[in-house]
């Protein structure tokens, strides 16, 4: 785990969705920005972390375990995984490869909605 950013500082106690970017720091996928728009529109705080691990599902579950909202997301190149703390670690809520910009935003909305308890957007 290294640096963090987002509207929530790491020392802040606000419960938030943990978003973990995998791979090298300078290769941060552009999809993270779209994901963040989805979270922001829903009004749920989030935190972006960087991690060198390469297993998307495990990273998302790890992020969920650390999130006070029980929701973790991992972004690796064009793959986004949304996980929930209580789910078995190999059964994420969403695991989408080859995401588009609107998919990424919808996944951000859904990560937020999982925390809010409102119906999810359908991905198509």
């Amino acid at each position: 785990m290294s640096e963090c950013r987002g509207p929530v500082d790491q020392d802040d106690d606000v419960p938030c969705v943990h978003v973990r970017c995998l791979g090298a720091r300078d290769a941060e996928p552009e999809w993270v920005a779209y994901l963040e728009h989805g979270l922001e529109e829903e009004g749920v705080p989030w935190l972006v972390e960087f991690d060198a691990a390469d297993d998307s599902v495990a990273a998302a579950h790890g992020a969920a375990l650390e999130s006070a909202l029980k929701i973790g997301v991992s972004v690796h190149e064009t793959r986004i995984v949304v996980h929930h703390k209580q789910l078995p670690d190999d059964e994420p809520v969403f695991d989408v490869s080859e995401v588009t910009a609107s998919d990424a935003r919808d996944l951000g909305s859904n990560a937020a909605r999982l925390a809010k308890g409102t119906p999810l957007k359908s991905l198509d």
Binding site: E41, R113, T118, L120
Partner: protein, 634 residues
């Protein structure tokens, strides 16, 4: 060994009771079966369903169908129920005058008013002293839109609010320097007139409050400086916005909003004394029902031709005429039930799928004819199964006999047979004489009310809403039931059900309800529909059927039929009748069948004279088969 099968052909299901008679003369029921009724009840198309149901019973008794010695049929009550809805008000909003929808995440807070302007418009064309409400189409990215709003503000314009096509309100709000209300997800933004006085309101978040200016006619009048005449016209707009978290109202020069009453046609109720009473349908259900009961017994009901009501009553007459081969004008409507209801209807000229609640009257009618062609069915079964077929008795009488096998019952007894199309009641006094009555309004009417009040437009789903309790999926692992209890699940729910209102089906499945209604609202609408139809009809039926016209005189009321299998209808009726001191409950035919199989069981008992199942002698008129149609010549 001899085998006798009692067969009850009902509106929706065909039921069989199979009796074994041993060589020593003892009788025993060995099997029961159920199959859906094929074709319209009382027509020759019922034969395949009957044959199938009998085969199932034979299978479960472990015998061959050919071993069945005789088949007993009921003479189906010659009634058909039909339901229809008549809308009696209509809100017409020409041009885009309001947007009342509730996006899940509007931005900002408060009330803003100004002239509607495209966000990309040339600012030089606008007077900086006039406040503006900017319109953001989907082609403009939220970051660009926020930048443009800031530009307008920097140049001295008063930006009072924003209307956004995409789901971007919070994103824009977080990126601008002014605090303004923003309504988003306005799908048909291009329909909004430009250059018109516009008001945008967003309720404060996390306060549980809804908007309070635009849902108030005088609030709208204040914003747009309306005259008293104009204020009267915008009442439907204000009413449609009540309870919203956000709203937009636009004053269009030629815009016109009016609520008008549709002429809904008249009903003519003709009683058996030959006099006629006329009720306009738009006077509402109470007036209609009062007129019906004042004119009891009803000989016929006619609807004004050209109106929905007239059309519906004619449809019911026509289908009955077809079944019986009688002339349409000899078919009589013997009862109607009316219920006032509200239907959400899409507003004409809407820009984001807005709804207004329109008043309507739901009607169920019951058509009666002389007799159904039962002999044709009997002949059909006889040739299919090569066995003797006897039309053993009248449906209501057989239902009473079958119901009396319920432990704890005694005469005098009343039965309530609650089906899909009609609510039937029968009463047996201490002399074993039976009187029966058929009333319109039953399960199908409840389904129709639920369908329209929830705005589902899906009969199958409405039927499911009627049959199953609802719940809210709260987390991936828990649901909250209608009464507030939370259940934890072993396996996570499908993400598509998350946060939704679902129906808890019998097999453990969850079916989403695609309207944004809470389980509490669904429960309220469902129970109100059931109460208005079934509780009302139970009281009506029992009052009409008791010799003294006082339901207090009936000690036992037994409920049978498909709708008495419902998870809450029997208890609602028991509850309502408890105040009269009546023992009212669901039948348990033969101590094991529940409210099912009453007529089929009654048919068999009537044939064998009661056997050991009834502790009294059957009077001759209940134990002899019917000879209403000339015997078939071989």
């Amino acid at each position: 060994m001899a085998y006798t099968a009692g067969v009850d052909i009902g509106n929706s299901s065909t039921e069989v009771a199979l009796l074994q008679t041993s060589a020593d003369g003892t009788h025993e029921f060995v099997a029961s079966a159920l199959y859906r009724t094929t074709g319209l009840k009382g027509t020759k198309k019922n034969v395949p369903g009957v044959v199938n149901a009998i085969s199932r019973a034979a299978d479960s008794a472990g015998i061959d169908v050919a071993e069945i010695d005789r088949v007993l049929l009921n003479e189906a009550a010659p009634v058909i129920g039909d339901v229809a809805m008549e809308t009696i008000t209509e809100t017409v909003i020409t041009e885009s005058t309001m947007i009342g929808h509730d996006p899940s995440t509007p931005g900002g807070v408060g009330l803003g008013q100004g002239t509607s302007v495209e966000i990309t418009a040339d600012r030089a064309d606008h007077d900086p002293d006039e406040p503006v409400v900017v319109l953001v189409p989907e082609t403009v990215d939220f970051a660009v839109a926020a930048g443009l709003v800031n530009d307008w503000v920097d140049e001295g314009y008063d930006v009072a609010g924003a209307i956004v096509q995409r789901d971007d309100a919070v994103l824009i709000h977080n990126r601008i320097d002014v605090e303004i209300p923003i309504v988003d997800e306005v799908s048909e933004l291009d329909k909004i007139p430009r250059g018109q006085p516009t008001a945008v309101e967003v309720a404060p978040q996390a306060t549980g409050k809804s908007i309070d200016e635009l849902s108030n006619p005088y609030g709208i009048a204040t914003v747009f400086d309306l005259s008293p005449e104009e204020t009267q016209k915008i009442i439907p707009v204000a009413r449609a916005l009540v309870g919203n978290k956000s709203a937009v109202v636009i004053k269009t020069p030629s815009g016109d909003v009016e609520e008008r009453t549709i002429p809904a046609g008249k009903l003519q109720i003709i009683n058996e004394r030959g006099s006629t009473a006329e009720v306009p349908v738009d006077e509402g259900a109470d007036v209609i029902m009062e007129t019906v009961m004042d004119n009891w017994p009803v000989a016929d009901v006619q609807g004004e031709s050209g109106s929905n009501i007239g059309g519906m009553l004619n449809r019911a007459r026509a289908s009955m005429a077809e079944v019986t081969g009688q002339a349409v004008d000899s078919i009589e409507i013997r009862d109607i039930v009316a219920v006032d209801t509200l239907i959400p209807q899409e507003v004409e000229g809407s820009v984001a799928g807005e709804f207004s609640m329109e008043s309507a009257v739901a009607l169920a009618a019951m058509v009666k004819t002389q007799q159904l062609p039962m002999q044709q069915i009997a002949d059909g079964i006889e040739s299919e199964l090569d066995t003797e077929v006897i039309i053993q008795g009248v449906e209501a009488n057989m239902a009473v006999l079958g119901s009396l096998t319920t432990p704890g019952t005694d005469v005098p007894v009343a039965i309530l047979d609650m089906g899909g199309g009609s609510t039937d009641a029968a009463y047996m006094n201490t002399d074993k004489e039976i009187d029966s009555i058929h009333l319109s309004g039953a399960g199908d009417m409840v389904t129709m009310l639920i369908d329209s009040e929830l705005g589902l437009d899906d009969r199958d789903l409405a039927e499911a809403v009627k049959k199953f309790p609802s719940a809210k999926v709260q987390t991936l692992f828990s649901i909250r039931e209608e009464d507030g209890t939370v259940d934890f699940l072993d396996d996570p729910v499908d993400p598509s059900l998350f946060g939704r209102t679902v129906l808890l089906e019998d097999d453990g499945g969850m079916r989403p309800v695609p309207v944004s209604k809470s389980p509490e609202e669904i429960r309220r609408i469902r129970r109100r529909a059931k109460r208005r139809v079934f509780v009302k009809n139970a009281e009506r039926a029992l009052n009409l059927i008791t010799p003294t016209e006082s339901i207090r005189q009936i000690p036992f009321v037994v409920m049978v039929g498909r709708s008495s299998l419902d998870f809450e209808i029997p208890e609602m009726i028991s509850d309502a009748l408890a105040e009269y001191g009546i023992v009212c409950g669901r039948a348990n035919v033969r101590g094991e069948m529940g409210p099912r199989n009453a007529v089929a069981t009654g048919l068999v008992l009537s044939h064998i004279g009661g056997g050991s199942y009834l502790d009294f002698e059957l009077p001759a008129e209940l134990s002899t088969s019917l000879e209403r149609t000339p015997a078939k010549t071989n």
